[in-house]
Amino acid sequence: MKLIKRRAFSRIAVILCVAIGSVLLLTGCVRGMSPIGWSGVLIADGSLYTGSKEGRLVSVDRGTNPPSVKPAEPLRAAPSGSTCSTTGGSGGTCGGSAPGVAIYGTPAMANVAVLGDLIYIAGYNGKVFAYEAKTLQQRWVYPVEGNLAPIVSTIAVSGEMLYFGCTDSNLYALDTATGNLEWKFATGGEIWSSPVVDNNSVFISSFDKKIYAVDAATGAKKWEFSTTATNVATPLALDGVLYVGSLDRNLYAIDETNGQQIWKFTGGNWFWARPVALNGLIFAPNLDSKVYAINARTGAVQTQFDCGGQVASWPVVVNNEVVVATQNGKLLGLSANSTTPRSIAAIANNVVAPLSADAGVVYINGPDNVIYGFDVITGAQTSIALQPK
């Protein structure tokens, strides 16, 4: 009997080792090894545009009942040797990965002479694509040959130029009509944040612990501002002041013209999401599960909203209320006149993608490849599957 037991133990040891290998493989992948993407929703001309989890631009025509979903051709993965790295592959073979190219940026739109409305989207495969808004036919791609490093940034459009940051450390400016490179500006670290264009300047934050102001036309540096940690958050430009959070736990107010600090506020964790402004207050979400309502002029905190979950998605202003979504699935309304969040709805999924709003409805591109719409007054939910079942 003991012999049998010993044999059993040997077998158990083999099984255990195989199990460990499998657990290591699976847990490693599931817990954040694979890029999945968190594209937001662009609302334009009655349609919704977003990057799906399959790795393609999708348009949703709200004018039809049910809304018609039209996908563009899927983005193609960059050739990559590593399945689980930052090389911009498709997401690889790990469990939990997106089946296509991850898309983090929200689509952007510009009206281009002759071509009409074009929709722009950047992929984790290191490519930027332009599509016709109506047909979703591809008009151009940058770069034409090869790939850049993975792109996390959302594209910003201003005039005849579009801007995006890249993990190759460069800020790029392209011609909106042709996709030709106008200029690029090198920073000292990866860029995950999205550029903001204001007063002929492009503002971008970088992993190199700096925030830059660059001439929008030429790409020449105007100033740089140093923080004490990596910067991932996208700035908010308002009335000549740049409000930008950092992983050093500070929210900075910086003079757009000269890069001088006006004030800073320290939170409990990283400032990840872009803040929004309402009634003279800056509503800045922090990963300490709070949203701080800060006086835009003085930097004094007026209210701390305890949201009960991390807020990583960009908030949106709807009906004189700031709407935020937490990573544990709460949709909350924050008002300058109140100190407690108003519950709008509970969402089954965690929310990381930026929020968008139109006509009293907040749109969220969920992690399950579904666009959810929530009426901010009633909390009524609508959902549109981006991938036909």
Partner: protein, 313 residues
């Protein structure tokens, strides 16, 4: 997403120590991985030692167990009783090898996960990492940590480190593997000896090499500890020494009962395999083959001297 019990009890402390260490080790992630791996392996050392001693004790009992199996081949009940008696007298718990190993698994897995999270290889990973910070650790977090270490990019797969993982794991497995007369056990040992290194080499190529660095350091630590407990074990170092491998009985400084067990065969009558020659002396025919190479067949009448030796015992 809230943290679960696994995250709070095991993963979160490790991640925060990792962050704090990186802060004090010049934001050098490679150095941080090495130091943290060593710290954890040292903390787990008592368990590791216990496991190794238990394994060694089981190995030492093999000749006696084989003897009993031969003696009571037709009486399974009696065999079980005698084996139980032998274990009791020797103070060996057959599951003693497995329990410490099982206790260590969660720590290893947590360390592995912590490294993956801290590498922050993509936006989701970095965002996920923020959930694990203690209040005091957030200001120390100089993230993402520098991935560069000795010319290697720890965030991408590296073939050199992957091969090193495979080699060190094979060496460690080889040292642990004990000679077994039972063909099934021998077959499983062979499977383990090759399967794990190959599997982990494959993992190492696919995953960020920060993990490979962790595995390499962990394996080297195991090899060193194993050496001090049992010597080179089944590892044949002839190719290094240019002579038949030294097969002197393994030494255990602390396990008195085990040393008694080792002494027992020495008192056996002449002709017994344990009399004056060590078991593998029969290998000095210049071929110096490894025991494990001949285990697959499991034929007790094999011409292999090791098998003959076990057969006589």
């Amino acid at each position: 997403m809230n943290l679960g019990p696994w995250d709070i009890i095991i993963l979160q402390p490790i991640i925060n120590v990792l962050i704090a260490l990186s802060h004090f080790l010049f934001n050098n992630f490679g150095l941080t991985i090495i130091v943290l791996t060593l710290i954890i392996r040292f903390i787990l050392l008592p368990l590791t030692m216990r496991q190794l001693r238990a394994t060694k004790a089981m190995s030492s009992l093999q000749p006696k167990l084989q003897e009993l199996q031969k003696k009571y081949a037709r009486d399974k009940q009696k065999l079980a009783q005698e084996q139980m008696q032998l274990y009791k007298e020797s103070g060996v718990n057959p599951i003693g090898c497995a329990i410490p190993m099982i206790i260590q698994f969660p720590i290893w897995i947590a360390l592995y996960q912590a490294i993956i999270l801290a590498l922050a290889v993509n936006p989701e990973a970095l965002l996920n990492l923020s959930r694990y910070f203690y209040g005091w650790a957030a200001p120390l977090a100089n993230l993402p940590l520098s991935n560069s270490f000795l010319g290697l990019n720890l965030a991408t797969g590296n073939i050199f480190l992957a091969v090193l993982v495979g080699v060190t794991m094979w060496v460690q497995q080889k040292m642990v593997t004990s000679a077994s007369q039972d063909p099934r056990t021998a077959q499983q040992s062979q499977l383990m000896l090759w399967m794990m290194p190959i599997m982990f080499t494959f993992f190492s190529i696919s995953f960020p090499s920060g993990l490979a660095l962790y595995w390499v350091i962990s394996n080297i630590f195991s090899i060193v500890v194993q050496y001090f407990v049992t010597g080179w074990g089944e590892l044949n170092l002839n190719f290094l020494k240019g002579r038949p491998k030294d097969t002197a009985p393994i030494k255990d400084k602390k396990g008195k009962k085990y040393s008694e067990l080792e002494q027992t065969p020495k008192k056996a009558p002449s002709g017994s395999p344990t009399a004056s020659k060590s078991p593998q002396e029969g290998l000095s025919d210049g071929k110096s083959r490894d025991i494990s190479q001949d285990r697959g067949g499991g034929d007790s009448k094999s011409s292999n001297p090791i098998k003959r030796w076990f057969g006589r015992s």
